[in-house]
Symmetry: C2
Subunit: 253 residues, 2 copies
């Protein structure tokens, strides 16, 4: 097990626009710094979504009857609610000013991750930002580009901030991952007295994302990319989709 970790927010990351190459941007921000085997790059979802052009201009959205009805119930813009519903498989809970859905990728989250903050405003245009289409795929493409440049095996995480059912405040989590195990399963390993550990599947990628979030902050474009050094793992790499609890295990829907 590692005995020390270092987290470094990469400096000077510019505003990201649709079509920007995030790998090139990371390589530029790393400057003369090389990546080492086992390094993990954590990238805030927001800049991946922007680079992938995942913005919607609400002026182009026509809300459905269902969206109009839910919008009236929660007190939100019906066009925004339409976008939220279009990104979701179902509404899990709704209350005034709150919509919790199951996102099409399985995440149980507020507003399907549709975000109005930190999107550059333009004249009369009200744009919102959606989650990346396939965050595990985005992480994998980024991992390949960085490995090609640096010639070492690294991990990449696409992070977001989620609320929790029974805890106040948000925590960083991994919505995409590549090159590292999202979960580490210690079941069957002996504890310090040689007995078998009972409950011990660790949300490894989520814990890394939470750590990086301490540097990313919430206005996540100031320091959206964090380099994590010193981690170690032996389990095979697995995508962040593994972190989504299957619905048949869900006791709280």
């Amino acid at each position: 097990m590692s005995s020390a970790l270092e987290l470094i927010a990469l400096p000077g990351i510019p505003m990201v626009r649709a079509g920007d190459d995030i790998a090139a941007l990371i390589i530029a921000a790393l400057g003369s710094r090389e990546l080492s085997a086992g390094d993990v790059i954590v990238v805030a979802q927001k800049i991946i979504s922007k680079a992938e052009g995942r913005t919607v201009d609400l002026a182009t959205v026509t809300p459905s009857v269902q969206a109009e009805k839910l919008a009236a119930e929660v007190g939100k813009d019906p066009r925004l609610v339409e976008v939220v519903l279009s990104e979701s498989t179902c509404v899990v809970r709704s209350r005034p000013n709150l919509i919790i859905v199951q996102h099409r990728l399985g995440f149980v989250m507020a507003n399907a991750g549709v975000d109005q903050s930190n999107v550059a405003p333009a004249d009369g245009v009200h744009r919102v930002l959606l989650l990346p289409r396939d965050p595990d795929g985005s992480a994998e493409r980024l991992r390949r580009a960085l490995q090609q440049r640096y010639g070492v095996e690294i991990g990449v995480i696409i992070s977001d901030s989620f609320g929790r059912a029974w805890r106040r405040g948000t925590c960083g989590i991994a919505i995409g991952a590549a090159g590292l195990p999202s979960l580490i399963d210690l079941r069957g390993r002996p504890d310090l007295f040689g007995r078998t550990l009972e409950v011990s599947i660790i949300g490894f990628a989520d814990e890394i994302a939470a750590a990086a979030s301490l540097l990313q902050g919430q206005a996540a474009e100031a320091q959206p990319i964090v380099l994590v050094r010193g981690l170690s793992w032996t389990a095979p790499a697995a995508a962040a989709a593994d972190l989504v609890r299957p619905i048949e295990e869900d006791l709280f829907r």
Copy 2:
């Protein structure tokens, strides 16, 4: 905002026994290293509980009728279930091999945190470990002892690993905190384009605990104490009790 963090697992922490002085143990493990203002010490719940003598010998436990009934339903030792219930205000969900309760401190968690692993076995004695009686109080006592020794303002977190409703795997969280804000409320701060951030209360102490968990591992006594350097905050200190979502806000009970 910080631009770099360093996490160091303190080396050579011995097995902890009831009555041990955790502050003295941290000071010994720090050796010639001084603490600086803003440093945060994260201590795994398990060694706090052990030092506080929070063990129960199951041979001394007589299960109630309610415990017998629930034990039959979930397939666990009725004496263990009795201890779980004695630490809880209510059972939130139960299934074969699973009891999720509201702990007397408000945490919604499996088995009320009652743990059978990593407790030293003795002849014919089957001991289990409970959460500290008052983890915020434990953190505050530790903070005072360390500040007295080092003469600087530091933070202390008592960490545990919790499961999540809709995510697989556990994540480190803060069950006790002192000297730092458990939540950081960014509401009302402008985003990068001068608009107001919508949802932005950060589970600061939970994110720190998750980061430390990457070094603590799950067999948490090997590296139970982690020093975190480089964090910064301006909000006033507030206990980890603030991280518990009040029941009137709970949509998933």
